[in-house]
Amino acid sequence: MSDTPMIDQLETGPWPSFIKDIKRMAAKNAMCKDLLGLLEMSYKDKRTHWKHGGIVGVRGYGGGIIGRYSDSPEKFPNVSHFHTVRVNQPSAWFYNTGALRYLCDLWEKHGSGLTNLHGSTGDFVMLGTTTDQLEPIFTDLSEHGWDLGGSGSDVRTPSCCNGMARCEFACYDTMNLCYDLTNEYQDELHRPAFPYKFKFKMSGCPNDCVASIARSDCSIIGTWRDDIQQDNAAVTEYAKGGKVDIANDVVAKCPTGCMSWDGSKLSIDNKNCNRCMHCINVMPKALRPGKDKGAMILLGAKAPIVQGALLSSVIVPFIKMEPPYEEFKDLIRRIWEFWDEHGENRERIGEMIVRIGKGNFVEEIGLEPLPAMIKEPRSNPYIFYEEYFEEE
C-alpha cells in the first residue's frame, strides 16, 4: 500500500492535480518526498505540521523570504527547513520560455522544485528550501537580472493586470507603472520600515482584474473623464445579430439609468454615467472608454484582521498617469510620511484612515475633500468643528 493513501485520492479527477506535480518531483527530490509524507500526516491529523516561521533572509534585505520549519524533523528531515523565496515577477506575469527555464533550473539546483505560479500578492513563489541555500539563490538570481519581492512591514511586490498588452479597456499603462514603481521603491520593498505592509495593485479599468480594490493598500484603477466612445454601426451590428438584447442586457442593467434605447438608437447621458463598464463589457466593439484617460487612486483595502475587512476608497477621482508619474509619486510620498508619523504598529493605512477620520487624512496629505470620496455624507451629528468664533 502507498505511504500516502489519503492524498493519493487527489490524483484523480479532471482538475490538474498538485499531488501529481509533487510526486513527479518526489522521484528526484528528497524534499518533495518528505513533503508528501508530512502532508499525508496533516490530512490524517487534520492539522498543520508547520511551526511558526522564524526570521530568515538574505544579506541586506529584510524581506523576500518566508521562514518555515516543520514540527516533525525526525520523521521528515528533508523538510525540517522549508523556506519560501518570493521572486519578483515581471509585470502582469508575462514570460518568455528562456526566463522561465532559467528560474526552473535555478530552483532545481537549490530547492524543492515546487512553485506557486503565482503567490496571491503576485510573486513567483519558490516553495521550500533550506537556510544555507538562500544566499546562493539570491546571488544567482540577481546576476541573471531577477530580484526578490516583499514580505514583512514593507512595500509588497506590486502587481498589475495585462492592461495595454492585451486589453482594449486599459486607460493607462498598468505594466509600465508597475515596473516603474517597483523600481522606484526598491528600498522600501526590501527593507521593512513601515508600520505594516503596503500593497500596490494596478488595474487598467474599473473591471479591476487584479482585485486591487479588495486587496491592496493603494489601488490604481484606470478610468476616463469624457464621454464613452460610441460606434453606432457596431451597436446596430450587436442588435441585429440578435447577439445582444440591448434593452434588457445593457440598458436595464445600467446602474445609473443613464442609457436609453429606442430600438435603433442608443443614447448615453454621459454626465450621469458612473463608468461602471457594464455596457462596454457587453458590447466592446461598439462602446469604448473615453479619450481623456487616466486613473483613480483609492486607498486602504485589507483582509479582516483585526478591525474587519476594508475595501479601498476613493482618494483621487482622476489623475493623468504618464511616465515619470511625478504627481502620483509625490502623493505617495506625502501619504507615507503621514503614515510613518501617525500609523501605529501593525496598523494598515486603511485602518489608520478610519481611526483618524478620512476628512482629516485627506486634508493632511494636501487634498481637497470631494463628494466622490464618499458613498454618502455622515448621518450622525458628531462633527468636530475646527473653526469657531472667539469673543472679541
Binding site: 479527477g13 482538475w15 490538474p16 492535480s17 498538485f18 506535480d21 513527479r24 518531483m25 502532508l39 490530512y43 492539522r47 508547520w50 544579506r59 541586506g60 518555515r68 522549508f82 519578483n88 515581471p90 506575469w93 508575462f94 514570460y95 518568455n96 520560455t97 526566463a99 522561465l100 527555464r101 526552473c104 530552483w107 522544485g113 515546487l114 506557486n116 505560479l117 496571491s120 516553495l127 537580472g145 530580484d147 498588452a165 492585451r166 486589453c167 515596473y179 526598491q186 526590501h190 474599473p206 473591471n207 479591476d208 482585485a211 480594490i213 442586457d249 442593467k253 463598464m277 463589457n281 457587453v282 466592446p284 483582509a303 479582516p304 484582521i305 483585526v306 478591525q307 474587519g308 475595501l311
Partner: protein, 358 residues
C-alpha cells in the same frame, strides 16, 4: 558591504522582453475582443492584427517539470511566450488561428482543461494551507482540487448567468480574495488558543501579544514567577491574531477546525459596486481528502444560482434582488444566530424596515 558581484535592488526583468511580438507591436492599440469559445479569446487590434489566447487551468502549486512542459508548448506554438493570469491560470497566445486547436488538444492531454473565460467559474484563488503555513485551519490546494473536480463543467463552459469567482483561504488572515468572492471557502478555528506558559515569556513580547487581541481577551499573568498571559475564553472569537504575533499561543485544534462558506462578494465595478462576501454556512467539518460537505455545499449554491439568476447577475446581485430570506429558502441552508453580525458594524446589518417576504 555587499560583495562586488552581488547586485541588489535591481527589481524584476523588464516586461518588454517577455512579450510576444504581436503583443509588443499592438501594445495599447487593441480595439475589441471576442470570447470565441470557452477558454479562447480573440483580441483585434486597430492595425487589424488578431491575437488568440488559450487559457488553461493550473493547480498553481506546480513543479518545475510542469513549467517546462508549458514552456515546450509555448515554444512550439507561441514563439516562446506565455503568461499566467491574476487567477493563476496559464495563457498561451498565438497570432495563428490554426494553432488554437492544437494547443487545446495538447493541454487536454497534459491534464489541463481549457476554459475559465466569460460567464464561467474560473480558477480558485487560494493560499498555502497544510502545504506550507503554520496558521492554517484547513488545507487549500486539496480543497481547491476537490471543489474544481466537482465544478469542472462550469470551467469549461460559459453557461452561467455571469462570472462566478471562488476563493479559498486557510485562516482568517485571508491571504487572497475570500472577503470579496461570489463564493468563498474559509478555514476557521473554533476554540481559543492554548498557551505554552513555559515558552511564552521567551518567545513573545507580552505587551504586543496583549495588544494583538481585537477583543481585549488577553491579559498579562505571572505563573510560578514566569511572565505569561491568560485568555478570557468568553471573549475570544478565535481569530488567531495572537498566534500570528506570538508562537506560544497555538490555536489549531483538529477536532474543531473546519470550514465556513461565504457568498455574494464581488470586486469589479461592473453594474454594482464591489461587495464583501457574507456568511452562508458557519461551519462544515474538515473531511480530507475530498471535503464532501464543502464541495456539496458549494455545488448547491452554484446550481441554485445558475437556475434562478438573471443574465449578468453576479451571485451578490442575484441575492440583492431576491433578498437574503429567499436565498436561504432557495438553497435550503439553515439560518442561525451566527449569521447575525455582532461585530463593529453590526447595527447597519439589521433589518430596520418592515420589508419582509412571507
Amino acid at each position: 558591504m555587499a560583495a562586488p558581484k552581488r547586485k541588489t535592488d535591481i527589481g524584476p526583468p523588464h516586461y518588454e522582453q517577455m512579450l510576444h511580438p504581436m503583443v509588443k507591436a499592438n501594445y495599447g492599440k487593441w480595439k475589441y475582443h471576442e470570447k470565441v469559445k470557452p477558454g479562447v479569446l480573440m483580441h483585434v487590434s486597430e492595425t487589424g492584427d488578431k491575437l488568440y489566447t488559450v487559457r488553461a487551468a493550473s493547480s498553481r502549486l506546480v513543479s518545475i517539470d510542469k513549467i517546462r512542459d508549458f514552456c515546450n508548448l509555448a515554444d512550439k506554438y507561441c514563439d516562446g511566450y506565455l503568461r499566467f493570469t491574476s487567477r493563476n491560470n496559464v495563457e498561451f497566445m498565438t497570432d495563428k488561428e490554426a494553432n488554437v486547436q492544437p494547443i487545446i488538444d495538447e493541454l487536454s492531454k497534459m491534464g489541463h482543461p481549457v476554459g475559465g473565460t466569460g460567464n464561467s467559474i474560473s480558477n480558485i484563488v487560494h493560499t498555502q494551507g497544510w502545504v506550507h503555513c503554520h496558521s492554517s485551519a484547513t488545507d487549500a490546494s486539496g480543497v481547491v482540487k476537490a471543489t474544481m473536480d466537482e465544478l469542472i463543467d462550469y470551467f469549461t463552459s460559459m453557461k452561467l448567468p455571469a462570472h462566478l469567482r471562488i476563493a479559498v483561504a486557510c485562516c482568517l488572515n485571508m491571504c487572497g480574495a475570500v472577503h470579496c468572492s461570489d463564493i468563498a471557502i474559509l478555514g476557521i478555528h473554533r476554540t481559543p488558543p492554548t498557551i505554552d506558559n513555559d515558552k511564552l515569556g521567551n518567545l513573545c513580547e507580552i505587551p504586543s501579544t496583549v495588544a494583538s487581541c481585537p477583543k481585549a481577551a488577553i491579559r498579562p499573568k505571572v505563573i510560578e514567577g514566569k511572565k505569561t498571559v491568560e485568555v478570557v475564553e468568553d471573549l475570544c472569537m478565535y481569530c488567531g491574531n495572537c498566534y500570528t504575533v506570538c508562537p506560544a499561543m497555538p490555536i489549531a485544534n483538529p477536532l474543531n477546525d473546519g470550514i465556513s462558506i461565504w457568498v455574494g462578494g464581488k470586486v469589479s465595478n461592473s453594474r454594482h459596486a464591489p461587495m464583501f462576501s457574507k456568511l452562508a454556512i458557519p461551519y462544515l467539518p474538515n473531511n480530507p481528502p475530498r471535503w464532501p460537505e464543502v464541495t456539496g455545499a458549494v455545488k448547491n449554491i452554484v446550481e441554485t444560482y445558475a437556475k434562478d439568476a438573471k443574465k449578468y447577475e453576479r451571485v451578490g446581485e442575484w441575492i440583492n434582488r431576491i433578498g437574503w430570506q429567499k436565498f436561504f429558502e432557495k438553497t435550503g441552508l439553515e439560518f442561525t444566530k451566527y449569521h447575525i453580525d455582532d461585530y463593529t458594524l453590526a447595527s447597519s446589518t439589521y433589518n430596520s424596515s418592515t420589508h419582509v417576504k412571507f
